[in-house]
Amino acid sequence: MFFRILKKELKKKKAMNLIVLLFITLASMFVGAGLNNVISVMNGSGAYLEKGGVGDYVIITMGRNSIGALDEMLATEKAIDSYRLDTAIYGSRDSLRKGDGSKLETRNVLLMQDLSASTFHFFDENNQTPRALEPGHCYVTSNFLEKNDMKPGDTLEVGQGDVTVRLIIDGRLKDALLGSAFMGNTRILMHSNEFNQFLSNEEIRTSYAGQICCIDTNDVSAVEEATTKCDNVNFSQPKDTVAMCYVMDMIVAFIVLILSVCLIILSFVVLKVSLSFTISKEYREIGVMKAIGIKNRKIRFLYLTKYLGLAIVGSVLGFFLSIPLGKILLSSVTENMVLESDLGIAINAIGAIAVVLTIVLLSYLATRIVKKATPVDAIRTGSSGERYHKKSKLHLSRARRTGSSSFLAINDTVSSPKRYISIVIAFTLCMLFVLMLVNTTNTMQSENLISSFGTRSDLYLDSVSESMNIMGNSMDYMEKYFDEKDRKLAELGLPGHFSQEWQYKYNVEFNGKQSKIVCEHGFRTNFEDLVFTSGTRPQKRNEVAITKLLSKNLGAKIGDTVTIDFGSEKLDCVITAYYQSFNQLGQVMRLHPDAPVDPKYMAATMAFQITFDDHPSAKVIEERKEIIAANFTNDSVENCAEYVASCIQVVPTMLSVQYLLLGITILVVILVTILMEVSFIADEKSQIALLKALGFRSRKISLWHVLRFGIVSIFAMILAAALSIPMTNLCISPIFGMMGASKITYAIKPLEIFLLYPGIIVITTLIVAFLTSLSTRSIKSSDTANIE
């Protein structure tokens, strides 16, 4: 008997059961994938660097006779427990060609190494250690291959000095130390045959070779201080700083994490709603069973068995689907990183089991009515529309212009708002996350962030070769070089001037402790443009500003004095202000324009900046961009927003995550709309039949149902749009803060936030609600006679 009732239950309410099953499947899928991602992301960059053998402190040497520059320090420094040392040959963009001889795009310095001799761990696209290479083959950083639309199997021509080799690409490489968006170096791992061709060349060995050293130590400060005494040190940072280089990738990872948590919350909200709703539909049957004397325990057991069955089937399906979904969610982050949970798919299984337990718990709670209600109560609750006890707030007789369908829709939502809360919560949550991501992505490619990278100009010209050429020259040379650029600009009929931000790496002493610190100094840039978050802008040559992050590391605050060794002179400088910068992960100091800098000590340059004197419009700037690109040597010419986006690097990834989230949101919206509309139709069958009997056309009934969803989705979209700005500030600002920018002005595009994305969701809802409402056509006016 029990199983006969159960069988009938499953058969009779096929559509509703199917939808509950679908939601259980989705919930297990999202929970499984979400949990796995949360654990993988929480392991984060620290675990990845450990796997890559990066150690506690990293030193890279470069320049003439760099090989052996660290030998003495490595042999004598007592704080060093162990170290790994690799030799590399450095190159630039010009060192690389495609197999057909065409040029290739690459940022920053290129590194060539012998795979077999390397002491570091690298990973291929499947997170496995690359297999041994055959002569003439290589592995290349995956970012580089993506950027140049190359794939394994293609041929690469690598040259330096008189040596050129052709290599077949065997696979993509994940490089823990140098592969982050901020480092942006390209590493080529080759066979010892080819590598030795470079290394045996005297010119290459002395001018273009260097070493990469990863040190294991318990005293990073001691190693840091010992490093200040070594020559040819181009990069020296503790592991924490290297980990911070992945901050951009981690932003995406954290957004995936937030997305996963959001999907988990959403799944449980929808599950709770759908279970409560479907069980409320069973009240009448519950009443009848009670009336004929079936015990409460047995009735509850019947429903628990039914939902347990659905939960098990749905969770098993969801478990299998969660594995590829988790990979898709993480794929955008793991192009550069190895992010994985050591527990593997066990986490997905735990997620699925959690969903089963939650469903059993929710069903148990929802069937409390069995215990509480008398048979009559239960039967009445099932038939009298218990949610409609509130007084109508609107009156058709007073609504002069509203059509009957519109009035019914508005009146329904106003009279029983509780009924629509689950839809509002689900839609608002989904949309809120999409809008937060849209705000973040738009900000990352807007001019708003330029003050965190330097000073504002109309155009930014990047040329590695030009920058390399000017480095190490005198100030007189620089003046002439930039005058010449300005003259050429004038010849082209463009009123403006060139400028550039330079970085120096100086020994800075505070409280008796020496550190090598990157100091920023603008050449012909507008110092007044810089944004200082607190304190007073440096006014004299011996005044500096520092970032909050550097202040924390150095222990120096506003009002403290640091001693900077400028090379030509040592100067005691007072810290007068804090400022924010993403450069060098926020570990920078800003010098006064009159500070005694000497370009020959320059460590790096930013892009050449072009500022026009006639305040041109965006359209004119775009036209001038073309002229500049055609007349000056460059790797790229970008406007301010494009320059910010290329500095940040992760904008394309953010965009793909944004579209993925939008896709998931649309999917959730479609499913929630179908579930709720099917439930509404089942609940309102008598009213639909009545309207038909009164002479309402099916079109009008569909319109009533569709408008109801329209009202609810528009309300949810307004709510999400209104919350999106404060929520972006609340959730995303801490992530920017990790990179050194505590004060962010978000680029809010009203058209996208208030129209485009909400519009997509509202239109999707309306279309799905309309298609689902077509099933009301099968309800006949004569069904008024058959309604229970």
Partner: protein
């Protein structure tokens, strides 16, 4: 008398699990303007099916139902909806109402939807109020449907069925869910409407209710077995007695 509706050879067959069930078998009869017809018969005889089939709420398997020269069995869903809205009124045994609307709004709803008189909404509201006043329910106009008695609710249903001045009013056991007093009130309202010229076709089990009709059709096993025309000039008690005698002859 002018014929409002002609029913010719109407058949209705349901197929349940491959078993054919002929509910209506070649039913034919005419309805004249101003008539109040009662349909009686045992449970399962096809009374409600006949009502729903001739009102176009259910599709007949074969046969014709002519209303104003149009065979409504051949009309599309859209055309049928228009006929139900403009030319027919319905009263159900269960007092179905739109749950979120007040009594007034429930009555007004089909009037808003109807555009045959090209009235303004204000005029429609006034007409609804007049109708409610006539049926003695104006004081519950702004009440919700769960705040009124069964009798009041059924009178509201009558008002709703009459709001578009239908040519014919169909009633399916209109007093079936009411107590004796409410039942008498409701049937008296229907009688008044009939006296004002509305044609009524009513399914009922109650001989007392049926005795108020001018003609009673007795249906059994899907066919009209007999027809009784109520003699004029009889008192209420005599009408009831006469009908009971006729029914007893039919084995009721």
């Amino acid at each position: 008398m002018k014929k409002v509706m002609e029913v010719k050879d109407l058949c209705k067959t349901y197929v349940i699990e491959k078993r054919q069930n002929n509910v209506l078998k070649n039913v034919s009869f005419d309805i004249e303007e101003g008539e109040m017809i009662g349909i009686m018969g045992p449970s399962g005889s096809g009374k409600s099916t006949l009502l729903y089939s001739i009102s176009g709420m259910d599709k007949a398997t074969s046969g014709e139902v002519i209303l104003d020269g149009k065979n409504i069995t051949e009309l599309s869903e859209k055309e049928l909806a228009s006929v139900r809205l403009n030319d027919m009124g319905f009263i159900f045994q269960q007092m179905y109402m739109m749950k979120n609307l007040t009594i007034m709004d429930n009555i007004l709803l089909p009037a808003i939807e109807c555009d045959k008189n090209a009235e303004s909404r204000k005029d429609k509201v006034t007409r609804c109020e007049d109708l409610m006043r006539k049926l003695g329910i104006i004081e519950i106009a702004d009440n919700d449907i769960n705040e009124v008695s069964g009798g009041q609710l059924q009178r509201a249903c009558i008002a709703r069925s009459m709001v578009n001045n239908p040519k014919i009013l169909f009633a399916d056991e209109p007093t079936g869910a009411l107590n004796r007093q409410s039942s008498a009130e409701v049937i008296s309202e229907i009688e008044k409407l009939n006296a004002e010229g509305t044609t009524v076709l009513m399914v009922t089990h109650d001989a007392k209710v049926a005795s108020r009709c001018s003609r009673v059709l007795y249906i059994s096993d899907g066919n009209i077995k007999s027809e009784y025309r109520m003699p004029e000039g009889l008192s209420e008690r005599d009408r009831e007695r006469a009908l009971n005698n006729w029914l007893m002859d039919l084995g009721w």
